[in-house]
Symmetry: C2
Subunit: 446 residues, 2 copies
């Protein structure tokens, strides 16, 4: 059987009862983290603009925009929730591929759950399968595909959303293959867009395109049944390397959502070791930021490729500056949304300190590690290693960490009482009779 059909067949046949408990538990954590990010990002200017531009074209407003008053049709709600969940760069990460798995999949699923009734068990199953599909396709082409210049969250996320919605629709294998063909033909996301509002557009549009693919396939809109692996299919057109075994082997035996990770800091994962190390040094009492003469970070090569901005001008650009991130971590001991505001980036103290910070690529450095060398004004030299940054697979955030992050994102938007109710619903999502109550609890009163 072909790669696309094998994957389609797996998705159509997988049952909620097949899922190991640990996988279901991680799916709930993934969902909680995603809802927190979407609610937290909902007041961002990016959302104001997107809604102002597209709401006039929305169908009946049956689906919630999380953290806001507006309701839109499910396709537009999926777009908006995908945008807001990524706008702070604070969402989950599949570390092997740097895919942000929940954005495309959960955005589509929750919006769809307000269109058709969906039980918690089916929802968790579809979430697991959607993440499985996008991450397996990512595994098959990473890093070549990413190196070409594609934002892998948007390009693989379309498949994830199509799989998840197609599963809720109970598509048959041929229809699911068509949905994958339709997903293959509408990838979203160039890395050139990083640092602009368009980056957040990618997971949202992937959710919307994936749902569209499933809706069309359900009605019999035909497509290739070898959309992934064909000579002119997705993998060969969008990548220069492709290992189909990553897609087809051990289906139903391993789960990519089990190795999902959550960010403690509101920026790209590649800077987290540097932030973690700087916060550790500050907390240890060894270092006063005002006494720092120079800092040298030995980093993984992606750090400079993705976050090498020397002089960011805006909060958003600050997220793409390892120099800003390290400076703010040393000065404030934190790297939440507040530390990536326009004001923080233009703070003279921060600007002065970031000028003292250098970063050097070290080919021996793992992506979740950093080595920091600091020289203080009194001549002292401090060396510090982070082997595994907080939030990595080796040092995951615990449930309490995730709750704290969730409230940090949602309290200001919903108020703490509503945020607590929402947190409980997310934690219990797998046992809910209907999942639409989560969306209702996450929106503001009209």
């Amino acid at each position: 059987m072909s790669v696309t059909k094998t994957l389609a067949s797996y998705v159509t046949n997988a049952k909620p009862a097949d899922l190991p408990e640990a996988v279901k538990a991680e799916a709930s954590r993934t969902f909680l983290n995603w809802v927190g990010c979407a609610v937290g990002g909902a007041q961002h200017e990016t959302l104001d603009i997107a809604i102002a531009a597209l709401a006039p074209f929305s169908g009946p407003g049956i689906a919630s925009v999380l953290g806001r008053r507006e309701r839109l049709d499910p396709l537009h709600a999926a777009l908006m929730n995908g945008i807001s969940s990524h706008v702070f760069d604070f969402d989950d990460t599949h570390l092997r591929t740097v895919i942000h798995p929940a954005g495309p999949v959960a955005s589509a699923l929750l919006a769809y759950a307000e269109y058709q009734p969906v039980s918690g068990a089916d929802f968790i199953n579809a979430l697991v399968l959607g993440v499985e599909v996008e991450c397996r396709i990512g595994n098959a082409v990473y890093p070549a595909h990413y190196d070409v210049g594609w934002h892998i969250t948007g390009t693989t996320g379309v498949f994830g959303a199509a799989a998840a919605i197609g599963k809720l629709m109970a598509l048959d294998t041929r229809q699911m293959s068509w949905a994958f063909g339709l997903a293959a033909t509408q990838p979203v996301g160039l890395r050139e867009m990083f640092g602009t509002m368009t980056k957040s557009f990618h997971p949202g549009r992937a959710a919307q395109n994936g749902m569209t693919s499933a809706l069309l396939a359900q009605r019999g809109y035909t497509s290739s049944e070898q959309g992934i692996e064909a000579k002119r299919g997705w993998a060969h057109v969008l990548s220069v390397a492709f290992n189909p075994d990553e897609i087809t082997e051990n289906l139903g035996k391993s789960y990519e959502i089990a190795v999902n990770s959550y960010k403690p800091f509101a920026c790209g994962i590649v800077i987290h070791p540097a932030i973690d190390g700087c916060i550790q040094l500050r907390k240890s009492g060894q270092v006063d930021a005002m006494q720092v003469r120079s800092v040298t970070l030995r980093v993984h090569y992606l750090v400079l490729e993705l976050t090498g901005k020397k002089t960011p001008q805006t909060g958003l650009e600050g997220k793409f500056s390892v120099y800003h991130a390290a400076a703010i971590a040393l000065l404030k001991g934190a790297a939440g949304e507040r530390e990536f505001s326009d004001a923080a980036v233009n703070d003279p103290q921060v600007i002065a300190l970031r000028g003292q910070i250098n970063a050097i690529v070290d080919d021996s450095m793992a992506p979740d590690a950093v080595h920091i060398t600091m020289i203080l004004n009194d001549g002292r030299v401090i060396e510090h290693d982070v082997e595994h940054a907080i939030g990595s697979i080796a040092r995951p955030m615990g449930d309490a960490d995730l709750d704290e992050k969730f409230y940090g994102l949602t309290d200001d938007v919903l108020g703490h009482e509503r945020a607590q109710n929402l947190c409980r619903l997310c934690r219990d999502v797998g046992s809910l009779p209907r999942v639409d109550v989560v969306a209702q609890a996450a929106r503001l009163p009209a």
Copy 2:
């Protein structure tokens, strides 16, 4: 100035009064041909399915689906009209790049003209500019981009639609650059989808994505301002060759729409020389199809690459079979939609004749040429050359040919009287006070 900004600046500054008369006339012909194709394709099952799947998510139904009763929001109407205009593979072709220029651009424009009032002069200007943008970007990457496996109509069409709608919105150069960035990040179309309903999805989705890009940019949704030429921008990620001069040189001095071409036959342009040659032989009286022992076609390499299906099973597959096309041309003297029906493809006479037909790639053969060698049952050998197929730049369809094609497509859908009225409106589109009257005249009464 960068490539993207140069192009954006040109589009934002170009005025209707700048257009040469011949360019305006060709734009009207392009529009007439597109309306005919969209109306003619509107009853196709592909449209039934797409509308059934997506109409529940449509916003207020202010825009017409040509040739049908349904009205949808402008984004969905653009999608549907783009699908129907391509579903017969009968639309226009920019021969240098095999782009079908009108689909993405006109579909977006006409739907938008039912949302905001648009004069004929502004409409023609926006149509010319949209086609200019998509074809110039195509010129800059063809054939490398197409050879990678992209359906160039969908991948460049997004830019064309964004330019056209952005022009009507009077975006400034920065906004137009953002619209191009948003277009760059959502290309549509893998060639793997050829032969399925998804091929027609490409120009429709390109229209919808381009309009979405302009709507977002208008409100200030930021994007890269170097979306086309940046290291990880569209051209380098989606192509292995890129000549930016094709985009920036002679802007306002040459017009790609002036070299647009229209298909006399309802299938891919690459088979047209073979069809034309077979019809010429039949008309000449030299050949009776029943007396043919064998036919050998010497063809351009793309003919076998795109239309090499030996044993098509459906009418749609027949469009990708040079063997079927030549057989039906010899037997029927025509190659309209009727000759590419399921019945025609499965006609025993056609099947028998197509078994006698061979095609050989000849590297010296131009794309609009063919050499035919026919051996008859009595042993006679007939040789025939087509230097330029009808519909090529060297042998364009005249105005009367285009009218005849238009009525062939629209009479059965609208009735001849309504079709005549529509034809007149299309021919006069440039002088209409409001273009929405064309859309109204092209839809069926509710």
